[in-house]
Symmetry: C2
Amino acid sequence: MTTEEKIFNAARIVFQKKGFAGARMQEIADEAGINKAMLHYCFKNKQLLFEAVFMNAFSQLAPQIKEIFTSGESVFDKIKKFTHSYISFVIHNPYLPQFIIQEMNNNPAFVMSFLNNENRPNPTLLITQIEKEIADGIIKPVNPKQLLMDVFSMTVFPFAAQILAKGMLQISDAEFNQMMEERKTSIAEQIINSIKR
Amino acid sequence: MTTEEKIFNAARIVFQKKGFAGARMQEIADEAGINKAMLHYCFKNKQLLFEAVFMNAFSQLAPQIKEIFTSGESVFDKIKKFTHSYISFVIHNPYLPQFIIQEMNNNPAFVMSFLNNENRPNPTLLITQIEKEIADGIIKPVNPKQLLMDVFSMTVFPFAAQILAKGMLQISDAEFNQMMEERKTSIAEQIINSIKR
DNA sequence: GTCTATAGCCAGATAGAC
DNA sequence: GTCTATCTGGCTATAGAC
């Protein structure tokens, strides 16, 4: 593993746990097992190191969103695939959702820059598809955006609010993971069941 | 409005927007329209000021959780009441959920201290009640904790991930509020519909 | 490329006048 | 109580030896 990779991985851990403002360059250096000066040698400054980490985090999740937004399958299949692939991935990167949401709130301007480029996932096609399947009598009449909000909510929230959820519902780490395994299929089942004709 | 109240309100605004680590005492003082030294005169230090704000934020939401956890109504009625009252409140305090979730992640140890006291909302009774209504044939067999996770997810997530959700689904502030109004009733309808016998 | 030492700045906190 | 001025520590960033 190159020094740059060691720094990058350490930075990911620290930034995801503390956020941009709370992270300390010294802590990242310690985590990487190298000297603080190397961070600046490799990544110039804190902001650029952060942007590298954030962009990487975002790019790991974006393809799955893009898939549900643009693939040619039926709406039901898309929902099934999304919940399954998203949870499968994020169960091994449990701090990613909260990290992204947090930094979006703390620094919306910066983040919007690459939510507004032409590569951002665009829901228009999927919304049109939902409207078409409603017209075809496959799906009950629903607000397509509400449907998408439901899917994202049920899938992402348990991870984004992980500590709160564990504390409130009094569930252990093991039980949490077990529940998320179940949700890979149960979320799609419930939603599809409630909207199918 | 007393000076203390001016400071407290300013602190709430800044802390909720920037988080503990990102907030600056100077910014809070400017927001309050008073001098930085007054912050320390009134609240001793940044940590204590933050704790006052956080505890206040948490105590505004806790009663609604307690209500669903302990009141004597049916499970269906509880779900209906919770989604309605939670959204009604939070629509006027839209940064509260994200604020609480963020600081829980950044500083779990501190927050757990008052999630672990005897006053914390305890879900045990509600879980028992759900199991009873399942045994009575009112509710289909489901994992009670998954059911609660569903309710919280659908209700809280849109606010917690507000900026992300607005960006992804391309919805304006007005449209967002309109959607949340609909969700006051639609969430409960969908969930109840999917679990009732 | 990797380190030590340090510059320079900024934010939290305090002293002290009024 | 409210202010101005200042101290102090810690953090980002850099200079410079090896």
